[in-house]
Structure formats: structure tokens, C-alpha cells
Symmetry: C2
Subunit: 136 residues, 2 copies
Amino acid sequence: MSDFVLDDRLTRDSELIMPLGLCQLRLLKDSRWPWLMLVPQRKGMSEIFDLAPLDQALLTFETNTVAAALKKTTGATKINVAAIGNIVRQLHVHVVARFEGDPNWPGPIWGFGQAEAYDAARKRDFLNALAENLSS
Amino acid sequence: MSDFVLDDRLTRDSELIMPLGLCQLRLLKDSRWPWLMLVPQRKGMSEIFDLAPLDQALLTFETNTVAAALKKTTGATKINVAAIGNIVRQLHVHVVARFEGDPNWPGPIWGFGQAEAYDAARKRDFLNALAENLSS
């Protein structure tokens, strides 16, 4: 894990919320959707099946834990979970809360429009509620 | 599993390749991308975290096995794996082979353009090669 270095674009577009067992849990700097990202702290991984089997199981556990907490925190209509990586090849998994009528609903969020900055208080409240639901 | 009924739209838009342990493995009727779908044969599931823990592990195993076989079969630049479900709520996981320069590369495939039918021989060759890589 000491060799792990986060991709430059992922670093720029998101901020660390907390380390999980395998992954960094990060928040995208885009207030249009509650948009989280898990990045396994393993070097040279691009596809989920590149991970060792135990890491694949850990990634599943961490992703599903985060997705359930995001659903509980936001009351989302649907949680979108995706490992795409056509632009940034370092393995990362998106976990996004979607709502009927949100920007580009029911289409995908990736490549759509421009990011919008968070209001600081709104971001703090969201992250506090998420942390509570992750630990309960 | 006897109570499981495949959603009408998933039935219409895809065809069964083979049953796996948990999921139906299906092919989307769209030749623009080699596009597979796994549907856990469990009733009333919408989110991955709705599944029982053992089913979550099975889904991970089956998804990653299929994704690795699809990569080997196609030589894709990147495999996209996603559970979105904003339109069809029955839980289903997309596994798609992407190539630089393919329709909408590097953007997402969902909601993009119109499906194009397969040539029968091309589809047969693809499915034969996929089956071989799934069993090796």
C-alpha cells in the first residue's frame, strides 16, 4: 500500500473523506449529485478483476457499505455504482445518489455538463450525516 | 429462484447466453459494443446492497469472471462495469467492452443513440469465443 499514488486527475477532482480498509473514500467536487468514489490503494490496478481475490471481496464489501449509507443519508431514488475508467485508468468506483429530475436524470452523470462547487455548510452537513450512517 | 421473473424491458433488449450460479448472463441486442448483462435471479432486488451478503459475493465473482473473459475475448481498451438502473429498477449489472474511437468513446454508452442489430455470424463467433474464455 506504501507504493500507492493517487492519480493526478482524481486528486484534483475529489477530496479525501476517510480511508477504509482497502480504499480511499473520496467526495467529488461537484454538488450537482452526492457523488462518492472508492479508490483501492493498490498500485497498477485498472480493472476490478486485476485485484487479488480477497481485494475483490473487500472492494465489494466497502462499495456496498458506502452505497447503503449514501442511500440512507440522501433518500436517493437510485444509487448508481460504476467502474468505468475510460479517461482515468487508475481503478476507481463511482457511487452516486440519483433523484428523479436531477441534472441528466435518468441518463448517466459521466461526461455531462460542468461541475458545480459545494456550499461549505451543505458539504459539511452531508459528510457528517454520511459518517454517522457509515458507522451505524 | 422460482419466483424470479425477468423485467419486460430487459427481456426485450437482451437475450440469454447462459445461466450462471446466481445470475442470468445476457447479451444486449446492440452490436455497437460487446455488451453483456448479469441479472441476479432474485425477486425484488433493486440495489446491490439489497442482496444477501453471500449473493453479493457471488455477484462479484460472476461479474469479475465475465469481465475478465470479455476482456480476453475482445482485447478491449477498457471494461466498463455498472449497476445503474435509473430506468429499469430490477437489479442488473452491465459489463461492456470499450475501445478508443467506439461510439461515444470515452463517454458512457447508456442513453446514447440507437441500438444496431447484430449480424448473425458475427454474434455467433463472439458468443463462441466468449463461452470458450468463460470455461478456461
